[in-house]
């Protein structure tokens, strides 16, 4: 069964002299919800539009299901798309908006009506069917846009930042609805977003894009735990990972000694192919610091350092402390502490680091010590 599978092989896209997508290989299994993330302008929308057929690739091939659809008209690819701007037809009622594709396909009125009614029920749009889009709220409009897709019963749903025009509360609610919809329909979905939370919570797999190339593909937790390179490490996770420059002092079979500003960390590695003297970057997520006595006394893998508080951001449920830790780095490190802890700017704070949770990257930005087998599986 390959219905709903999407396969990209060496897909490239240039606009004139500008290469936007520089060779993307990707296989999306049927029923997966794949999320494209990446910085603005990296080509997420372009890649999605290539799948939809609104843009034609300048190289490579695209398959949906068993068919090569590289040059097939968008309406015949078995896809449906939700646009960031909703893109509803302003002069048509909700029912007409949802049934428009079927009407163009020449289906009888009764069939259209039935399918629209069914989709409207799934999305709780039934009382709104006669309204025009301008008489709907943002969330309702987005549901109509999704309804327009459901009605077409596509193999693949495409979403281009569908929630970015909604306010925070509604976004959370719609996110849950999309997750529910995915579970209910079991269809393949490709979802573009800027939002970390959307990506982490919705995705079966996340594809991290940067400048037209795939940086890493993997399950959300995998990307979080084992970023394959500096880019992914910095991109996944919020606030972003702290990076510290260091030099390898010694490499043992199961650990690497890295000299930071004034301290040397012994980082446990399964495999370390770094030579003494090599420049490396150590990454620590803000949430992986431990403050004060919270450091496990029995944990011999933890090291403590002194710091001075530079700035405090209190979010209620958690506190972000910007710290100066001269022994680790010249810059400011961000530490996330759960709970609302009273911290005073300018005072000292003792902070612990669990060495097993430190990430290590070589001079080219590739992760050191992530198991080689995993890296290979991820890149394929």
């Amino acid at each position: 069964m390959t219905k709903g599978r999407v396969l990209l092989r060496g897909v490239m896209k240039s606009f004139g002299a500008v290469d936007v997508i520089k060779g993307v290989d990707l296989e999306i299994a049927p029923g997966e919800l794949t999320v494209f993330v990446g910085p603005s302008g990296c080509g997420k929308s372009t890649l999605l539009r290539l799948v939809s057929g609104l843009e034609l690739p300048t190289g490579g091939s695209i398959m949906i299901g068993d068919r090569d659809v590289t040059c097939v008209h968008p309406s015949e690819r078995g896809i449906a798309m939700v646009f960031q701007s909703y893109a509803l037809y302003p002069h048509m009622s909700v029912a007409e908006n949802m049934g428009f594709g079927l009407k163009i396909a020449g289906l009888p009125k009764a069939v259209i009506k039935e399918k629209v009614a069914k989709a409207a029920e799934i999305l709780q749009l039934t009382p709104l069917l006669d309204r025009k889009p301008r008489a709907l709220s943002g969330g309702q409009r987005q549901r109509v846009a999704i309804g327009r897709c459901i009605v077409r019963e596509p193999e693949v749903f495409l979403f281009d930042e569908p929630l970015s025009n909604l306010d925070a509360a509604l976004r959370g609610q719609m996110r849950v609805e999309i997750a529910r919809l995915h579970a209910k329909l079991g269809a393949t979905m490709i979802y573009v977003t800027h939002d970390q939370v959307e990506a982490m919570t919705l995705a079966t797999r996340i594809v991290v894009l940067n400048a037209g190339r795939i940086e890493q593909i993997g399950a959300p937790i995998e990307l979080y735990r084992h970023p394959a390179n500096l880019f992914v490490a910095g991109f996944i996770g919020s606030p972003r990972m702290n990076f510290m420059d260091g030099i390898v002092e010694a490499a043992e079979a199961d650990a690497v000694h890295v000299r930071l500003n004034a301290a040397t960390l012994r980082l446990p590695r399964h495999e370390g192919d770094v030579k003494p003297g090599a420049k490396v970057t150590v990454g620590i997520r803000p949430e992986h610091f431990r403050v004060g006595s919270a450091v496990d006394a029995g944990d011999d893998q933890a090291v403590e350092f002194d710091s001075v508080i530079d700035l405090v951001e209190r979010l209620g449920g958690e506190t972000l402390a910007h710290l100066r830790m001269p022994s680790l780095s010249d810059g400011v490190l961000v530490v996330k502490i759960s709970g609302d802890i009273p911290l005073r700017i300018g005072t000292g704070l003792r902070v612990g680091v669990r060495l097993a949770q430190c990430h290590l990257f070589d001079a080219d930005g590739r992760a050191v010590g992530a198991s080689a087998a995993r890296v290979a599986a991820v890149a394929a």
């Binding site: 309406s75 037809y89 002069h91 594709g101 301008r134």
Partner: protein
């Protein structure tokens, strides 16, 4: 006891005085601009001698004489013939203009084609071309076609989007509309013409109405082209008929002329007020992010 009342009453008073001055000036200037129009309407109901003999706007001896005689006109045809003649070429002209301008503008606004910039610049340049430059070559051409003394030269050119201004207007309007809706329609299975018909046309309806309205009013007022191409009085449109009323009789019956001018104004006025709501109503609101 509150501290607020005194200043608040002051502010309200200043606001009201402000509005009074503003509306006073607006209404005053508006009346000055409309005065000739009122005068014309009023003069339609005056006897001829009173038109130049009195400054009063209100007729001293109101009479329907001007209207009745004017309608009959000094020719063998009644004014109704001339009105119908006008519509006989204006309606096809408006329809052809709308269809061709929208098609061409859609092409310019949404499709990639070689040398698009150049073609667009050329089209805009034709707007700047004085009409009189084309008069003689066009006349010779239509004479060769054997179209003289027919309405064809008046509206057939419009089938080819020759009014660059209208094309330009629609292109500008389209540029302000995000193409997402059209892309959604493509995914829904429309070809380009279906996208145009089902999505673009309804969305740019305000622009289309403006084009139709401008073309209607300008054509109704057009004097030169009918004068050049039409020779039989039985085919004259309103603009020529009015002119005829002035020179056929030695002593012009001004009340008749003005009465007919007033009637000639009515179609434009009616059409304008019927279409007005489309100018006001933002038909695209609510389609894309709100």
């Amino acid at each position: 006891m509150s501290l607020m009342p005194t200043p608040r009453r002051d502010i309200a008073w200043i606001g009201r005085a402000n509005a009074l001055v503003r509306y006073g000036v607006l209404i005053g200037v508006g009346l000055i601009m409309l005065y000739p129009l009122f005068w014309m309407v009023a003069a339609s109901f005056k006897p001829n001698h009173e038109i130049f003999g009195s400054v009063s706007l209100w007729p001293r001896d109101p009479t329907m004489d001007g209207v009745v005689k004017g309608w009959r006109t000094g020719t063998e045809y009644s004014f109704a013939t001339y009105l119908l003649n006008s519509f006989a070429f204006i309606i096809p002209k408006v329809v052809l203009t709308v269809v061709s301008s929208v098609l061409v503008a859609y092409g310019f606004a949404r499709f990639r084609m070689p040398g698009k910039q150049l073609w667009f610049a050329l089209m805009v340049a034709t707007i700047l071309l004085p009409k009189s430059v084309l008069l003689i070559p066009q006349y010779l051409m239509f004479r060769e076609f054997g179209w003289l003394d027919t309405y064809l030269p008046l509206y057939i050119p419009c089938a080819f989007a020759t009014d660059g201004f209208f094309v330009f207007m629609v292109v500008q309007f389209l540029r302000g509309i995000p193409p997402d809706m059209e892309e959604a329609a493509v995914i829904d299975g429309c070809n380009s013409l279906q996208v145009l018909w089902h999505v673009v046309v309804p969305v740019i309806m305000p622009a289309i109405i403006s084009v139709a309205l401008f073309q209607f009013m300008w054509s109704l007022n057009d004097f030169l082209y009918p004068l050049i191409y039409l020779s039989s009085v039985g085919k004259y449109p309103v603009a020529l008929a009015l002119k005829m009323a002035i020179d056929v009789t030695e002593a012009t019956a001004w009340n008749e002329v003005l009465a007919m001018s007033t009637i000639a104004l009515l179609p434009s006025l009616i059409v304008f007020f019927l279409a007005q709501k489309y100018f006001v109503e933002g038909i695209t609101s609510g389609s894309v992010k709100g």
